[in-house]
Amino acid sequence: MSRTTIRIWYLIHKWSSLIPTAFLLMLCVSGLPLIFHDEIDAAMGFDTEKSLSGVASSEGGLPLDTMLDRALAERPGEVPLFMAFSQDSPLLTVTTGPAPDAASGDMHLQFLDRVTGEALGPAPVNPLLDFLLQLHTDMFLGLPGMLFLGVMGISFIVALISGTVLYAPFMRRLRFGTLRTRRSLRVKRLDRHNFLGIVTLVWALVVGATGAINAFADPLTDAWRNGEIAEMTAAYASSQPLAPADYGSIDKAMAAAQDALPGRNPQFIGFPGGSWSSGHHYAIFFQGDRPVTEHLLTPALVDAATGELTDARTMPAINQALMMSKPLHFGDYGGLPLKILWALLTLATISVLWTGIFLWLRRRGGEIDRRVDEIALGARKEMRA
């Protein structure tokens, strides 16, 4: 690799990592406890699900119409927005709001037990995890914050790729795993940065890329609703949105949807007029019927007035990628051991970011040629720094 090539990649690596580095450190630090959200919720007494027993709400229990009536009775004057099912317990979550297109800040979530029909009150919010999740997702800035962090994620991927390119000339004369400790502090940091960076590379690429995809979740969902949902419900395009008073039976709609997609469990229902449905339909989202497809949702659109199926289609590839990217980003799909590995890899990534910052802060001379020397010569010469 010529010195000019190294110089270009060095500059790409420098800027693509310097710009997002503070945000990446924030994402690592706030993400670390979020990996263990289930365990933290349990320890802090927020695990409503554990106290309920009986058939899972996605499989059976009292009629859904009965459950919705109970939920609406708790929130007079509000309209239903979402109904979400549990695959493990009778827990049913009903989201209501002032209007069918209510903003997320105006939504109200409540828990119900589908076996006993009991309303369990507002869904408890763990203030600690809620704060960390908001910080991690959008820094309390809503959609602009999400998109900004998405761009930082893309920059992180550029930094990972350019760092890998620079790894080759640097390691020409060094064994894999070299961590020199008896040279200068700079050599020690450089070795650690390169070693931890290359070992965690694939994991960091996966978590970075899936995080960036997640950051664009809202525009991707909007595009799906305006594209495929509009196409599936083209026959309704000219009619007014259905008024909440005219919503028909959810149980009838569910039966029609399950006829079209047999053997699958529902994950949630998007009510008419919200961001996950058309103005006229219950959009019932089913999980795949095999472990491989469990994270992929297929919506069945059912006319909310008549309870008849309009269409059921798998989502476009980009939205499927979004759904698969959630577990791959959260690391919560393989039990506690996988979460612990996720945490260790996050700590390693923090170390890469930290040593990277210091390599930049404590650089000598400011001459770019010295940086290029450092990479091009690797261990060939005893580094002077």
């Binding site: 070992v199 694939v202 491989v292 799909y333 393989g334």
Partner: protein, 64 residues
């Protein structure tokens, strides 16, 4: 054992171990997604290679 290699290494030689670790990590991440039980166990082992290599290198470093 010296840190330095006797000869200049080819790009393939430089990336031999990183690629092996990367392939194992990726296989583990995907395998964990596709099922529970034995697949999860295999996912832990494969994803666990990277942290193990890090611990091994750090331990070797402090022992001399």
């Amino acid at each position: 054992m010296s840190h330095r290699t006797r000869h200049r290494q080819s790009t393939a030689a430089v990336f031999r171990w990183p690629i092996a670790i990367g392939v194992a990590s990726f296989a583990g991440l995907v395998l964990g997604l596709t099922g529970d039980g034995a697949r999860d166990l295999l996912a832990w082992i494969l994803v666990g290679i990277a942290p193990t290599v890090i611990f091994a290198a750090l331990a070797r470093r402090t022992s001399r």
